[in-house]
């Protein structure tokens, strides 16, 4: 296992290197001179030269990359071009809101997916199963921003059951916080619920056909006990993989949902930064999104092996 972890970490090195090159190149792909964007109307040749020197833009590209990487590794992610706030601070300030939204969305998706996926598998081929499969395909087909808008219209504007927009930190008022996070979390978690339900169903079908389930039934265990005690635990192992990747992709999903619900998280910061052409902030967010995705991938592989000792890492 240790050798496997080391090998996976070593394999991550070239990928992480290429990811940092990609993120670094973002600022060089963009049209226009960052110094001109930073200076706005106050652009004089001297000021432009000073900014170029400050940002290291007068150096060869590979030197610029190494300087930038050195700063990133030391926690200096630069300053926002528009607000001059340190990028790392801007992201960490907004991260709790995004994590709260992502966590509630994930819990919601699992609360829907596991029971429905299990029922669909147990009643395979029935009308219930067909409806569940139809819902699964629909769940991944409806854009989450559209789900958000429909939820706002029905539950917030028409029925006035939930507030629209606004973030209350969990630590300030847990109940009010949940009321505010409910709609964006449902919008964000629906696609995940559909995917998780599909995984639960197919995995459950596979497990229910195994010999040990037949043995448990033959020994007189009730069907309910067999499904919920014997089968479900093993059936959920593949679901762990996909849930892990969903945790890694929280920032990705949050981009649109946070924009719809004016949620003050990292996703909304990303969109605002794009419109302000605030490339240092965009770089920071893309970097953190890519690395959290990579780490989630690694953890998923490790947890998978821990949950199912039959998996060989040779």
């Amino acid at each position: 296992m240790t050798a496997y972890i080391l090998r996976r970490l070593l394999l991550m090195v070239p990928v992480a290197f290429l990811v940092t090159v990609g993120v670094f190149m973002l600022i060089h792909l963009s049209p226009g001179d960052p110094a001109l964007i930073m200076l706005g109307e106050d652009r004089t040749p001297d000021a432009i030269a000073t900014i170029h020197k400050q940002l290291g833009l007068d150096q060869p590209l590979y030197v610029q990359y190494l300087i930038w990487l050195g700063h990133i590794v030391h926690g200096d992610w630069g300053r926002s071009i528009t607000t001059h706030e340190p990028v790392a601070q801007a992201i960490t300030e907004r991260l709790p809101a995004t994590l709260e939204l992502g966590s509630v969305a994930l819990i919601w998706s699992l609360l829907v997916a596991i029971p429905l996926g299990t029922i669909a598998a147990v009643r395979r081929g029935s009308l219930t199963d067909q409806i569940a499969t139809g819902i699964t395909v629909a769940g991944v087909s409806i854009p989450n921003f559209f789900i958000g808008i429909v939820l706002i219209f029905v539950l917030s504007v028409t029925l006035r059951l939930f507030p629209f927009g606004g973030y209350v930190p969990l630590t300030t008022d847990p109940l009010e916080s949940l009321r505010h996070v409910a709609l964006p979390a449902i919008a964000l978690g629906t696609a995940g619920a559909a995917i998780n339900m599909r995984f639960t169903r197919s995995s459950m079908i596979e497990v229910l056909n195994l010999d040990y389930i037949r043995t448990a039934r033959a020994k007189g265990a009730s069907w309910r006990r067999v499904v919920f005690v014997h089968a479900l635990k093993n059936a959920l192992i593949p679901v762990v993989t996909i849930v892990g990747l969903q945790i890694g992709g929280i920032i990705e999903g949050a981009v649109v949902t946070e924009t719809v619900f004016t949620w003050p998280g990292v996703g909304r910061l990303a969109v605002e930064s794009i419109f302000n052409r605030d490339y240092t902030v965009i770089q920071g967010i893309v970097l953190i999104a890519a690395f959290s995705y990579m780490v989630a991938n690694l953890l998923v592989d490790l947890v998978y092996g821990w949950l199912d000792p039959r998996i060989s890492y040779s």
């Binding site: 070239p14 990928v15 992480a16 290429l18 990811v19 990609g22 993120v23 973002l26 600022i27 792909l29 963009s30 049209p31 395909v137 629909a138 991944v140 087909s141 409806i142 854009p143 921003f145 559209f146 808008i149 429909v150 706002i152 219209f153 504007v157 995917i195 996909i242 990747l245 890694g248 992709g249 920032i251 990705e252 999903g253 981009v255 649109v256 924009t259 719809v260 990303a270 969109v271 794009i274 419109f275 490339y279 965009i282 967010i285 893309v286 999104a289 890519a290 995705y293 990579m294 991938n297």
Partner: protein, 294 residues
Amino acid sequence: MSNAPAIVAAQTPIRRTPVAVVELLRTHRRVTAAALLVALLFAIALLSPVISPHDPLATNPDNSYQPPLSPGHVLGTDELGRDLFSRVLWGARVSLPVAFVAVAVGLVVGGLIGLVSGYAGGVVDLLLMRLMDALLAFPALILAIAIVAGLGPGIRNAMIAIGIVAVPVYARLVRAVVLQLKQMEFVVATRSLGASPMRLLLAHIVPNLLNPVIVQVSLSAGFAILAEATLSFLGLGAQVPTPDWGQMISVGAAFLTNDPWLAIVPGAAISVTVYAFNLLGDSLRDALDPRLRS
């Protein structure tokens, strides 16, 4: 993009004939229904200049905010008095070509990388696959947004961005199938008979890639439409006054309290279109993968 199809290479060389396609459609009702729905969407995109009752860009402020089923406007009018039905029909002319181009970019570039990587092996494979791993390390939408942020908003850049996101998916898929096929007897036999690498690839390997690639094309078309709508919703894709579904939802969301149909109609159009492609991919996967046949 996560809905990668099960990779199953044929045990024997495939000779796909029109009869086989008709047989597939005849025996698999879900495939037929999904294919008909996709064909209908393409017909709408192609015929929208003929079947649209109004010019999608013609404004008429005196006639704005007409609700659905108003005289002359079956789905009502928007804030500038433009006919919503015509704009939704024309929206298909934006979304479907974007999906087509983006998938083509992903398929051609990714497919070639996968072919070369799988066939050549060794250092070439190692380098190309690390590059693909790096692209896959970015969450798909974040990568698309980052590319559009770099290149600048617009429909052309959105197509490029979505195409780039699809590249590693096709590269990995094609490489995996090529690796399987390389070991198969008919390929080994053809090679030992002296077939050139080019002939081996084009005449024997590429035709056998069709099954998994067809499934992936359908699924990634759905993803491409969803991604394009998302980019346009965020203001990074199609720009006003182009009748684009994502952009129409974005504008319509501001009028949700009094005129919800402005956002709901284009939202339904996106959902139905993506559903059609996902259903096609899903049903094709069930039909073409022998392990999933019951």
